[in-house]
Amino acid sequence: MSARDADLEKLLARTWADKPGLVGWLTTTDHKRVGRRYLVTAILFFALAGALALVMRTQLAVPNNTLVGPDHYNQIFSLHGSAMMFLFAVPVMTAMGVYLVPLMIGARAISFPRLNAFGYWIYLFGGLTIFIAFALDAGPEAGWTAYVPLSSSDFSAGHRTDIWSQMVNFTEVAALCVAAEVVASFMVTRAPGMRLDRIPLFVWAQLVTAFMMMFAMPSVMLASQALQSDRQFGTHFFNPGEGGDPLLWQHLFWFFGHPEVYIIFIPGLGMISSIVQTFSRRPIFGRTAMVLAMVAIGFLSFGLWVHHMFATGLPPLGNSFYTAASMLIAIPTGVQIFCWIATLWLGRPRFATPLLFVLGFFALFVIGGLSGVMLASVPLDTQVHDTYFVVAHLHYVLIGGAVFPLLGGFYYWFPKFTGKMLSERAGKVNFWLLFIGVNLTFFPMHWLGLAGMPRRIYTYPAGLGWEWANMAATIGSYIVAVAVLLFVGNVLMSLLRGKAAGDNPWDAPDLEWATSSPPPPWNFTEVPVVEDATPLWADEPIETLRGLRGDKREMLLTSIAEARPTARWGCPDPSIWPFFSALALTLQFVWTIFNPWGWVWASIPMAIAMTIWFWPKKSEPSSD
């Protein structure tokens, strides 16, 4: 490093430093600190929701079990599903985006750093709200899908469903914040020269996901507001007695719920592409086809929601359309899988832990996909609707399609997050334990579903022939728990005494590996110039640009298609006001569970906090 670079780094370290201690912790807007926090929080919620699953599996291990009663069981499965979907799966995927997207596109910061911090706090407070409610015996009780009339005030009195409905608002606000950040980052903060054809596939995946969130999540917010309004204000959206319709709930919910599956799955596709490319040691095969396939999946996923409603008595033409659309989406998914296989085939694969998880994904996702094609067929769906066959299918798809790529991604990027390597040996044991555990848990559920076992029942009588499969599933779930504990142990041990990672331990080609591990708060001391889709594998070293200020938090803006430098952009300083704004919004959301006037009164502290948040400070560019 030249003396000039060393001086610049010292200056940048001063400029981009967070305040020390608790104040710094609450005020930070560093996307990496926020991203790490998101990851840890999401994994904690995953562990809590997983513990609920263990309770369910223990209850179902033998017939006529009395460990958990029906009311408690309702709350447990409702919170398990809600937490896994709203508090783990989506946030953990967006967390990876929050941490990695700015690094992968060579930016110094995320596009809206304070909004990013605000989104995290909202997510945290929303998760705490529903888990605290559960601890107080006020957990959700109508399933993660909260179908009316089960969730109406007639069948769900008290505030359990209202709390669930507000949890939806908390988590969707948080996710939509990230969606806006990813879109703006993608459009105008890419490194110079990172044209559309040079953007890493993971970043494309995050962009497609962000747009999907913006189109899908308003649907569940509208639905949950309408539900709350039916319960609180006596509106009749879902009341057939006054011109409403319970099926309207299902349409609005699944217009969100089906794309939601892909919102979880598409970032996983991006992770797989990164891992396959690096560990095959060759550029990904069919890059353009891969991007188009992701975009196609994004579009098609909005045309499938009714396949969750085949049992509601739709017109046959509607059924046929949604069957065809459900099968159609297998085509772009297939394109992706064949491109990965081709990349591995043509490359020199190195079977490190991240790649093992990808191979595990292939196996599980293909099984989940096959049962998905079966469920897309109306006659079969009508037979196994609301049985354990569906439980088996959705877990194969979600664990195979999201958790395996996520763990692969976690093993892959952990060195970047922390500067330490995870143990490869523990990683391989982790993989095999999880793979065996997941299959042992969920494969027998196909059979249970075909044998007629309904989902969401708290116990079953002896003599139906369901005993062995339930016991096998319970044993499998404990193996999964051991695998998760091993993963946590591996992380903790590696943090304590892991091998130092260096900047680029996997010899990977993307920009996040061009900076130190963990990266400094400003990500890149000089702006990298991208001339290749795999810049770190190019023959020539990466060139850099000078001229961004070191004494202010500045990042570079570039044009949308060609990524030519267009402006220097002053990033906002750290601030406590996103935290206070999140507290004010939490006050509003929690208040309105009990009293609708909360919408009015709590908007006052909200407006005050957000005004101070946006008010220009002396140090910021507008006051220069």
């Binding site: 110079p192 913006m214 011109g243 409403g244 319709d245 309207l248 060139e543 220009p616």
Partner: protein, 202 residues
């Protein structure tokens, strides 16, 4: 990018931009997509519920009265004059003109809020009367929430351009806010047609 990076000095670039190249613009686009999708879905729900009734509005009720809502529509359309002039002044970076027109846009916003009070008062079906009332009030309240949000945003920006130093970046913010005002007006035209005219046509 050619391999001539050393010859480029980023310090020569401006520190603000207008329109599609700026971060704030994309934040606004994202917000409008999200809100716009909310309206699309609510309108979808409206047409989903409509065929369940033999007549619309159901129960022999007259369609909602037009006077205040139409007045509100006219004021919303007229508010585009100061709004467009605000955006133009901001792009020219003309401080005095920006101050003048953003103040006028705020006045129009206030008038809209007052008209809303009359409009809501005159609406002839309650939200808890039937699903028709529920979905119409949903559309009105959604739009009202957007209007209040943008009016508040406009007021804060107006105060800023009066009391704080105004540089290119602040002008860019004013321009982005004007785009969002267009969104408020356009969505009001759509909501107005849905709530006040669809019951007359169908």
């Amino acid at each position: 990018m050619k391999r001539a990076a050393a010859s480029i000095d980023l310090a020569e670039l401006p520190d603000y931009l207008f329109g599609v190249g700026s971060i704030g613009y994309w934040g606004g686009i994202a917000f409008m997509l999200i809100e716009g999708m909310g309206f699309v879905l609510a309108i979808g729900a409206y047409f989903y519920l409509l065929p369940y009734e033999h007549e619309w509005p159901p129960g022999g009720v007259a369609p909602p009265p037009l006077f205040w809502a139409t007045a509100s529509l006219l004021v919303a359309l007229l508010s585009e004059i100061p709004n467009v002039l605000t955006a133009r002044a901001a792009k020219r970076q003309a401080k005095a003109a920006t101050q003048l027109w953003i103040a006028w846009t705020s006045v129009f916003g206030f008038v809209l809020i007052v008209l809303r009070g009359f409009e809501f008062h005159a609406f002839n079906v309650r939200w808890d009367h039937n699903a028709y009332g529920s979905i119409n009030w949903a559309l009105l309240v959604m739009h009202h929430a957007d209007l209040i949000t943008d009016l508040y945003d406009t007021l804060v920006l107006a105060v800023m351009v009066f009391v704080k130093p105004v540089d290119g970046r602040k002008f860019s913010d004013v321009n982005d806010n004007a785009v969002f005002w267009h969104f408020i007006v356009v969505t009001w035209v759509i909501v107005y047609v849905m709530v006040y005219w669809v019951p007359r046509w169908l």
